[in-house]
C-alpha cells in the first residue's frame, strides 16, 4: 500500500511530464496546463495522506525498490525514506508546486510552448520529490542533479535569446561545481561507513565509536557543504541565482525561491548527525551563511529589476538559513525555509502578476502607482513584504527572530551581521513596494492604458500564499512549537532542548522589530517623502555603482576563472596540439631522412653490389664456421 502510494507520489508528475511531452501539443494549452497541475495535485494529495499517517504514527516509512549500484564495500538500493522531514518538505514542494502550476496556466497562456513548460515543471517536481524522499545519498543525488537539469531547461525556456541560455548554462555549471563537492562527500561517507543509507548512517552515528574518523568526517562534511553551497546559492557559488531570473516568473517562484534552492538546507538537515560532530565545518557554514546574507542584501539595496531584487533577497534569506544551520539550529532553518517558501513564492508570483500587467516590463523605474490598478496583487505582496521584513505576527517574524535569537546565543558578531541584513531586507523590500505600487505610473502611455488586475487564476494562488505567509508562523510559536515536536525524531537534540522566553529574548525581539520598522521607515522616507526614483544606469556613482554592479563579482569570476580556462583552451588547441602532432610527425620525418640518405648507397652498379655480396658472404661464412 505504502509502496504503491509512494510510487504514485513520485510517478504522478512523471506521468504528467510524459503526457505533456508526447501529447501536449495536440491537447492544447489549457488542457496540458490542467494535466500538469493535476499531476502535482495528486502528489500533494498523497503527501497529505502520508503526513497524516506519519503525524499519527511517528514512524518513518522505508521502501526498498531494487538494487541500483554495486560498489565493492556496499550496495546502493533504490529506495525511499518517508519520514517527518521529507514529508514536511513534500508538503510545501507539492503544495506550492500545485499553486504555481495553477498560476502558470494563465500566466504562460500566451506562450507558444506551454506544453513543454508544464512538462519541464512536472519533471522538476518529479526530481524534487526524488531528492526529498530518496532513502540514501545517491538516490537523493539523482534528484539533486535532476532538478539542476530542469532548472537549466526552465531558465533557458526562452531559448531564442542566447543571454538566457548563457544564464541557464551558468546555473547548471555552478551547480555542478557544488555537485562535485557533494559527490566527494558521498565518496568519503561511503568509504568510512560502507553505506550511504540515511537510516543506517544515523544508526552508526548514534551508536558512536567514530571518534577516530572525525578528521575525515570533517572533510566529508565540508565537501557536502560545498554541494549545498552550489544548490542553495551561497558564497562563492551564488552568482547563478540572480541570473536565473531569466526564466519565466513561475519558475523563479517555484525553483529559485521555494523549493530547489532549499535542497542544500534539506541535505544538511538530513545529515545533521554528521555535521553535529564537526564544529569546524559548522563554524564555516555559519560564517558563510551570515556573510552571504549581508552581502546579497547590500546588492539587493540598489537593484532596479524587480526580479533581481527578489533574487538577491532569496540569496540573503538562504544565507540566514545557513547561519541557523551552522549554529546547529536545524529546526529553525527548516522553519525559515517553510515561511520563506510561502512569502517568497507569493512575492515572485506577485511580481509576475505585475510584469504580466505591464507586458513584460521588469524595471521598477518604469513602474509606480499600480496600487489602484492591481489591488489584490498589491495587498498580497504587501503581506508578503511585511512577512519578510519581520513585522510581528506575520510568519517571517517568528522564523527570522528565532534565527537571530540563536545567533545571539552563540556569537554576537554573527547576530549583528544577521540583524543588519534583516534591516536591509526590510528596506529593499519596501523600496520595491513603494517604487512599484505607490506614486504615479512612470511607464509609457500605452502600458498605462493596458494596466489591469490579473485574472483570478493568477490571483487565487497569490491569495492562498499570502494567507500562509501570514499564519505560517503559527507552526512554531516560541515556547510552544509544533514544528520542534514534529521534528524531534529527526533532530534528537530537540527532545531535551528547553524553550523559555526570558528578558533577553524579548529584548532581542524588540530590537529586531525596531530594526525592521527602521528599514521600512528609511524606504518610506526616501521613496515616498523625497519622492526619489533610482537614477539611470549611467548616473550611478560611488559605492552604489559597485553595489549596482554586484561588486563586480561576475566580472572577477570571468577574469580569474572563465577567461584563463578559455585562453588555456585556445593555447592547447593551437599550440600544444600542433606541437604534439609535429612531434609525432617528427618521427616520420627522421625516418624519411634516414631513408633518403640510405638511398644514396644504392648506386645501381651491379659490380659493387656483387662485391659487397661476396664480402658479406665471406664474413658470414667465416663467422659461422671459423669464429668458434
Amino acid at each position: 500500500m505504502n509502496t504503491n502510494l509512494a510510487l504514485l507520489l513520485l510517478l504522478a508528475p512523471f506521468l504528467g511530464f510524459l503526457i505533456n511531452v508526447f501529447f501536449g501539443k495536440s491537447l492544447g494549452k489549457t488542457v496540458s496546463g490542467i494535466i500538469g497541475t493535476l499531476a502535482v495535485s495528486v502528489s500533494f494529495a498523497v503527501t497529505l495522506y502520508f503526513f497524516s499517517q506519519i503525524s499519527a504514527s511517528k514512524q518513518a516509512i522505508q521502501i526498498q525498490l531494487f538494487d541500483w549500484i554495486q560498489i565493492s564495500n556496499f550496495k546502493v538500493d533504490f529506495g525511499f525514506l518517508l519520514d517527518q522531514l521529507s514529508v514536511l518538505w513534500l508538503l510545501f514542494v507539492t503544495g506550492i508546486g500545485s499553486l504555481i502550476h495553477l498560476y502558470s496556466i494563465r500566466y504562460m497562456h500566451d506562450d507558444e510552448k506551454v506544453h513543454s513548460f508544464f512538462a519541464y515543471l512536472n519533471l522538476f517536481v518529479f526530481f524534487m520529490i526524488t531528492l526529498v524522499i530518496g532513502s540514501n545519498l545517491l538516490v537523493m543525488f539523482i534528484g539533486w542533479e535532476g532538478v539542476g537539469l530542469c532548472s537549466y531547461l526552465l531558465i533557458g525556456f526562452w531559448y531564442k535569446n542566447q543571454d538566457f541560455n548563457d544564464a541557464a548554462k551558468k546555473a547548471f555549471i555552478m551547480n555542478r561545481i557544488g555537485d562535485l563537492g557533494l559527490l566527494v562527500g558521498i565518496f568519503i561517507v561511503g568509504m568510512l561507513f560502507n553505506t550511504l543509507d540515511f537510516t543506517a548512517l544515523k544508526t552508526i552515528f548514534l551508536t558512536g565509536g567514530i571518534e577516530d574518523k572525525v578528521t575525515m568526517i570533517s572533510v566529508a562534511a565540508f565537501a557536502l557543504f560545498i554541494g549545498a553551497c552550489g544548490k542553495s546559492a551561497q558564497i562563492p557559488l551564488y552568482t547563478w541565482l540572480p541570473d536565473a531570473m531569466a526564466g519565466p516568473t513561475p519558475v523563479s517562484a517555484l525553483i529559485h525561491a521555494a523549493t530547489m534552492v532549499t535542497a542544500g538546507i534539506f541535505m544538511i538537515t538530513r545529515m545533521n548527525f554528521l555535521f553535529d560532530i564537526t564544529p569546524d565545518v559548522q563554524a564555516i557554514i555559519a560564517v558563510v551563511g551570515a556573510v552571504t546574507a549581508l552581502f546579497a542584501a547590500t546588492i539587493g539595496l540598489v537593484q532596479n529589476d524587480i526580479k533581481k531584487v527578489l533574487a538577491y533577497s532569496t540569496v540573503s534569506q538562504l544565507g540566514l538559513m545557513f547561519l541557523a544551520l551552522g549554529l546547529g539550529a536545524y529546526e529553525v532553518a527548516v522553519f525559515h525555509v517553510i515561511t520563506h517558501a510561502f512569502f517568497k513564492a507569493c512575492l515572485f508570483l506577485g511580481s509576475g502578476s505585475v510584469i504580466h500587467a505591464l507586458g513584460g516590463e521588469q524595471d521598477m523605474r518604469n513602474m509606480g502607482g499600480l496600487k489602484k490598478a492591481m489591488p489584490i496583487t498589491f495587498v498580497t505582496m504587501l503581506i508578503a513584504s511585511l512577512a519578510i521584513s519581520g513585522v510581528p505576527l506575520f510568519s517571517g517574524f517568528f522564523s527570522k527572530d528565532e534565527i537571530l535569537l540563536v545567533a545571539f546565543h552563540h556569537n554576537i558578531p554573527l547576530w549583528v551581521i544577521g540583524s543588519v541584513a534583516s534591516i536591509m531586507t526590510a528596506f529593499y523590500m519596501f523600496r520595491l513596494m513603494f517604487l512599484t505600487f505607490f506614486k504615479e505610473f512612470r511607464g509609457t502611455v500605452e502600458q498605462k492604458h493596458h494596466l489591469h488586475e490579473s485574472p483570478s487564476l493568477i490571483t487565487i494562488p497569490l491569495i492562498v500564499l499570502a494567507i500562509f505567509a501570514t499564519v505560517g508562523g503559527l507552526i512554531s510559536l516560541p515556547g510552544n512549537s509544533w514544528l520542534n515536536e514534529y521534528l524531534t525524531p529527526i533532530l534528537p537534540k530537540l527532545a531535551n532542548a528547553e524553550h523559555h522566553l526570558g528578558n533577553t529574548e524579548y529584548m532581542l525581539m524588540a530590537i529586531a522589530v525596531i530594526g525592521g520598522i527602521v528599514g521600512i521607515g528609511l524606504a518610506y522616507a526616501k521613496y515616498i517623502k523625497q519622492n526619489s526614483v533610482p537614477s539611470t544606469d549611467a548616473a550611478i556613482t560611488g559605492f552604489s555603482k559597485v553595489l549596482y554592479n554586484k561588486y563586480y563579482i561576475d566580472e572577477i569570476y570571468d577574469a580569474i576563472i572563465v577567461k584563463p580556462i578559455n585562453v588555456l583552451s585556445v593555447f592547447f588547441r593551437d599550440k600544444v596540439e600542433t606541437s604534439l602532432s609535429a612531434l609525432v610527425f617528427g618521427f616520420g620525418k627522421v625516418t624519411n631522412e634516414i631513408s633518403y640518405q640510405g638511398k644514396k648507397l644504392q648506386t645501381g652498379s651491379i659490380g659493387l653490389y656483387l662485391f659487397a655480396f661476396v664480402i658479406g658472404l665471406c664474413a658470414i661464412v667465416s663467422y659461422l664456421f671459423l669464429a668458434q
Partner: protein, 106 residues
Amino acid sequence: MNNILNQIGIENYIFLSVILFSIGVFGVLYRRNAIIVFMSIEIMLNAVNLLFVAFSTYHQDAEGQVFVFFSMAVAAAEVAVGLAILVSIFRNLGSITIDNLKNLKG
C-alpha cells in the same frame, strides 16, 4: 668403385670445386659483358654439381646425383629465361654491358 676416391681423395675434388667456384666469382666481378657473367654463373653451378657428385660417391648414396639432376633442370630453365631477358635487354638498350643497367639506383 669407390676406390677411385681412395686413389684421388675427396680433398682434391673439394679443391677443384672451390677453385672452379672462385673462378666463377672472379668472372662475375671481373667481366662486364652480361653473357660472360652468365657463363661464370654456369661455371659456379657446375663447381657445386661436381662436388655433389663427388660426395655422392663418397657417401655411396644416389641422392646427391638426384640433386644434381634437379639442379641441371633448374640451370636449364634459368639459362633459357636468363638469355631471353638478355636478348630483350639488348634489344632495348643496344648493349648488354651491365654497367648500363643502373635502373636500381636509388
